[in-house]
């Protein structure tokens, strides 16, 4: 089967939610199967084009094949098998990540935050010192 046919099948399977491990396995096995069929046809005396046509025909229509694979629920990934549960888990993960985002931001921007922290502390100390001095002078 020509590669573009496999790409179409890969697209259909991926879009349909088939687990990636089975997408790759299916394409590998179909590719080998096609090569076996083509070799058998060539060995039987058919020309290259006819052998390819026969191999493609024997392997079956790729849309029917995609439908056969997609009808197997056990081959689908978790998100495709349990979309509502997956959505809930994704939402929970997103909600859980929200409080963590500032922390992650702080960790990633440590040097800048340290510089700003030192500058802010110095400014507070200086202003506080000036105010305290003025206060002391006024009181005295």
């Amino acid at each position: 089967m020509p590669d573009d046919k496999f790409e179409q099948l890969r697209f259909e399977l991926t879009r349909g939610g088939v687990a990636q491990v089975y997408v790759e396995r299916t394409l590998l096995e179909l590719s080998e199967h096609y090569a076996d069929l083509e070799s058998a046809a060539l060995a039987a005396g058919f020309g290259a084009d006819e052998a390819a046509r026969r191999a493609r025909e024997a392997l079956g229509d790729e849309h029917a094949l995609a439908a056969a694979i997609l009808s197997r629920r056990e081959l689908l990934c978790f998100e495709a098998r349990h979309p509502r549960v997956a959505n809930c888990l994704h939402s929970a993960a997103a909600i859980g990540a929200i409080p963590g985002l500032p922390l992650i931001y702080c960790i990633e921007h440590r040097p800048e935050l340290a510089r700003w922290g030192v500058a802010f502390s110095l400014a507070v100390t200086l202003v506080g010192g000036i105010l305290a001095t003025l206060d002391w002078l006024i009181v005295v």
């Binding site: 089975y22 590998l28 096995e29 080998e32 076996d36 024997a58 094949l65 197997r72 056990e74 081959l75």
Partner: protein, 116 residues
């Protein structure tokens, strides 16, 4: 109580694949060839559909797969597990029961289906 027969409708490919694998370890192309030979090409299907059947059986633990390089080609060989043997026995029994029922209907006899 009436029994439903889901394997009659959807278990035939599984039954045939398990039967082929009960003889020896095989890869997809070999299974299809053996199936065509043993059934006298009575069952027509696009050969590619053997793979979702195999993968589903693997997912349920009835068969196990292993990759093997043969003459520079990467083959995925399948073999039957203990669970697969039990599944084969179950499906074979179901098939014999349903088949006996259908035969009985075709020959016009009435009453309980007979075991084949």
């Amino acid at each position: 109580m009436a029994q439903t027969n889901p394997p009659f409708m959807s278990g035939v490919p599984e039954l045939l694949v398990l039967r082929m694998l009960s003889a020896r370890e095989m890869y997809g192309y070999e299974i299809v060839k053996a199936m065509r030979l043993i059934t006298g090409e009575a069952i027509g299907f696009g050969e590619g559909v053997i793979y979702p059947v195999l993968h589903a059986l693997e997912e349920t633990g009835a068969v196990k797969a292993r990759r093997k390089a043969v003459n520079g080609r990467e083959r995925v060989y399948y073999s039957l597990t203990i669970k697969g043997k039990r599944r084969l026995e179950h499906l074979s029994g179901e098939w014999r029961r349903v088949s006996a029922g259908v035969n009985s209907a075709l020959t016009g006899t009435t009453g309980e289906p007979q075991d084949a």
